[in-house]
């Protein structure tokens, strides 16, 4: 394995508030975190992109509805279309759904309450760049903190997603009313994933669980492999 540290972008929107935690977590797991501002219309040379949690553009209209029109997101869409790795966490997940990069949408929690606590997640697939470091059926403890995390898809869409195995994580004890206990979905190609729980808040034993490192560590390894492939292609 190449020991080079892969470069991973974290996009900051006005109202993002987990961007620095995401950068810190990625650095701790062996990546170089590269901050990107929402007004930047092109991405720096990176092997992956993280859209962090927060309340982009004040969550006006619908969560993520305004952020999807930012210059940075156009660049992220192009990056994803070329097969680039994109992970959306919480508000980042909401933005990816609004942008049409992920299926479904996030609605207000069934309880209408903002929920901030650890939840237990079940790994549904380990053949994605975001879960390759996990074992099949493994349970992870990772915190959630959201008011609008109730993932929704109609029956037809859900059946399609289940058939294509696009549900990556499910809640053991559904906290927000999400259809089919969905906590994370990926696109058909598998290079874009969104999840409501916050792996970046679960990488240091000081704050409890370190299970988030399995998700972000998988992303760092996949980004490293992608950087190595590109470097090899450039040499040959």
């Amino acid at each position: 394995m190449n020991a080079a540290r892969p470069r991973i972008a974290v996009v900051t929107f006005p109202g993002s508030n987990d961007d620095r935690d995401a950068l810190l977590a990625l650095e701790a797991l062996g990546a170089i975190g590269v901050p990107v501002w929402h007004g930047d219309d092109r991405l720096p040379d990176v092997a992956a992109v993280v859209l962090p949690g927060g309340f982009s553009y004040g969550d006006y209209l619908r969560c993520g509805a305004i952020a999807r029109f930012s210059p940075a997101l156009r660049a992220v869409s192009a990056f994803a279309a070329e097969g680039g790795l994109v992970l959306g966490i919480c508000n980042g997940f909401q933005i990816l759904c609004e942008a049409g990069l992920l299926p479904g949408t996030l609605r207000p929690n069934a309880s209408l309450a903002f929920i901030c606590r650890d939840v237990v997640l079940r790994i549904e697939r380990t053949d994605t760049p975001f879960t390759a470091g996990c074992s099949a059926g493994q349970r992870l403890t990772i915190p959630i903190k959201h008011g609008e995390g109730c993932w929704f898809a109609d029956a037809d869409l859900l059946a399609e997603l289940e058939a294509r195995r696009q549900i990556v994580l499910r809640y053991e004890d559904n906290p927000n009313g999400a259809i089919a206990d969905v906590a994370a979905v990926c696109n058909e190609r598998g290079n874009v994933m969104g999840l409501m729980p916050h792996p970046e808040h679960a990488v240091d034993p000081l704050v409890g669980s370190t299970d988030g490192a399995l998700i972000l560590g998988s992303l760092v390894e996949a980004a490293r492999a992608s950087s190595d492939r590109r470097a090899a292609a450039a040499v040959s």
């Binding site: 509805a65 029109f69 949408t105 929690n109 069934a110 929704f152 109609d154």
Partner: protein, 79 residues
């Protein structure tokens, strides 16, 4: 031309906000069946032709004002 867009949660979509309003109205002693909560967007559009204005507002609804997966909309054009 003025345009008003009424955005509603689609039938069958869980509307916890509507349920909370319904419960509160009952607590106040009102007799209500179902309550659903949507959103109103008032717009001033520069297009003067009603058909063209409606078509333009429809495009706004599809691209930004609503999420077609969970919301329906109705457009009212004013003077």
């Amino acid at each position: 031309m003025r345009a008003t867009v009424l955005v509603r949660p689609k039938p069958g979509i869980l509307d916890p906000q509507g349920e909370a309003v319904e419960t509160s109205l009952r607590h106040l002693g009102f007799s209500v069946g179902e309550a659903r909560v949507g959103r109103v967007v008032d717009l001033e559009v520069s297009e003067l032709d009603p058909a063209a204005a409606r078509a333009e507002v429809e495009r706004m609804c599809e691209q930004l004002l609503t999420n077609p997966l969970i919301e329906s909309y109705e457009i009212e054009l004013g003077p």
